[in-house]
Symmetry: C2
Subunit: 297 residues, 2 copies
Amino acid sequence: MIEITFLGTSAMVPTKDRNHSGIYLEFNGEGILFDCGEGIQRQFKIAGIAPTKIRRICITHWHGDHVLGLPGLLLTLGACGYTGVLHLYGPSGSKEYLGNMMSGFAEKISIDVEVHEIAQGMIFENDLYMLSCAPLEHSIECFGFSFIEKDRRRIIVPFIRKLGIPDGPLLGKLQRGIDVVWEGKNITVDEATRVVHGKKVVYIGDTLFCNSAVGLSLDADLLITEATLSDTIEEKAENYKHMTAKQAAMLANHANAKKLIITHFSQRYKTMEVLEEEAQTVFANTQCAYDFLKIKI
Amino acid sequence: MIEITFLGTSAMVPTKDRNHSGIYLEFNGEGILFDCGEGIQRQFKIAGIAPTKIRRICITHWHGDHVLGLPGLLLTLGACGYTGVLHLYGPSGSKEYLGNMMSGFAEKISIDVEVHEIAQGMIFENDLYMLSCAPLEHSIECFGFSFIEKDRRRIIVPFIRKLGIPDGPLLGKLQRGIDVVWEGKNITVDEATRVVHGKKVVYIGDTLFCNSAVGLSLDADLLITEATLSDTIEEKAENYKHMTAKQAAMLANHANAKKLIITHFSQRYKTMEVLEEEAQTVFANTQCAYDFLKIKI
């Protein structure tokens, strides 16, 4: 299961109720943090999530509201005895920005951070999932990210029990997609297992509506996008290279997404009804994010 | 009247209830911010205080938990159309640290910040108050700050009314300490006014107990000091160059302060009773700070 926690849902200026951007995805006991606005380390505390679970941080772009929580988070991870390498993925310039940021105060971080400057396509893969990125259209270089859980085979237990195949290496082989022989009889993967399709979660950072965002979001089970403003001030949104709630919903439609969560709201909106309703007229299964919203898929 | 709002009261690691350090002092419609830990701009929002009132920021030292809210605050002040010069006072190296910090993300601040690297003594004075600093004893260069409201003369209204002196320039002169003549009669400042003594507020940042802190705090109406740990682990406090609650109270005693508020608490303390009681055995008029505590003096 993939568990997502929204740690911050404001745009440039935070509000009483909304912290700067940060989305935490946990899968198989490990965490991936998408963006790290100011105050995110404290949001982890309030959410009751140990930030030491983070193994990867994906930065959409280097505007302050998406990155100013990095130094504090890295310092705190050091103070908590974080071990292993923390991988940070971000646009070109990420190494220099992070270096400058870390020279902006009189402490050295004690953890091992490996910075990967990304372009397009796969940025990480293991047996369980893939992380990809695609460029978006914002005022500076900005990326969207997709997390794709890999399909896996699950044993059809009644079938196996009937044949009397014990737990152990034979079942492991079947799960990995290899036919086996049991008591002289060939057991095929197709009869002994069924495929469980992995889920796809996409996070679209600050951007105009663009084909690249649609491509990255195709068939997403959960699409998370910015929707800074309402379509009633669409021109303003365009000037600042942001999407409106309606455009976010159009993106979900074009990409054939199953569920849309919009986030990164301008401080001008005191309640989110306007934006939610605007999006729902185009894409019904839309929800507005709020700080500490949890989604399990 | 001086109004003080505690915007953050944690030590290095923030907690669910305590933000990183920040103390806002408002006097005569203008604000002075002492330290600016991560998240302070949002604490202003929650406290319902306009950060555009800030005219001066005093930084005790450049450890992350005292400064990492600066870039976000300065960005937001720019977005709010802040006008005038914002003065920042801090230890040597402040210009370089701030410069690096501001090169750590892809935006430029649009407000005019003047950085003053301080040593000891008066750092600012106007008709109404003085700001001074003194070096403390921490693991890096660190300062304490004193805010001293100037004494002022208040007209003794019944006396003036009896003589029939009208509102206007004559009263202004008396308030400024100048004798005047009314209907041929000499009116002295001493008979027509009384002196209202200005209040003194002192903020002692991270430090060991030291004579310099005592000197700066002498006769403070309100002394605010760090008290990171309990005296039961005094050795640990000394290793990290911090005061215990007991030492903070000793400081208040030695300095003949009227009231002590302790702050900057380690995350290990879930309630503050231990620290408050420990301090009160030495200095009775002690209170533990909490986020959004307001004090008027």
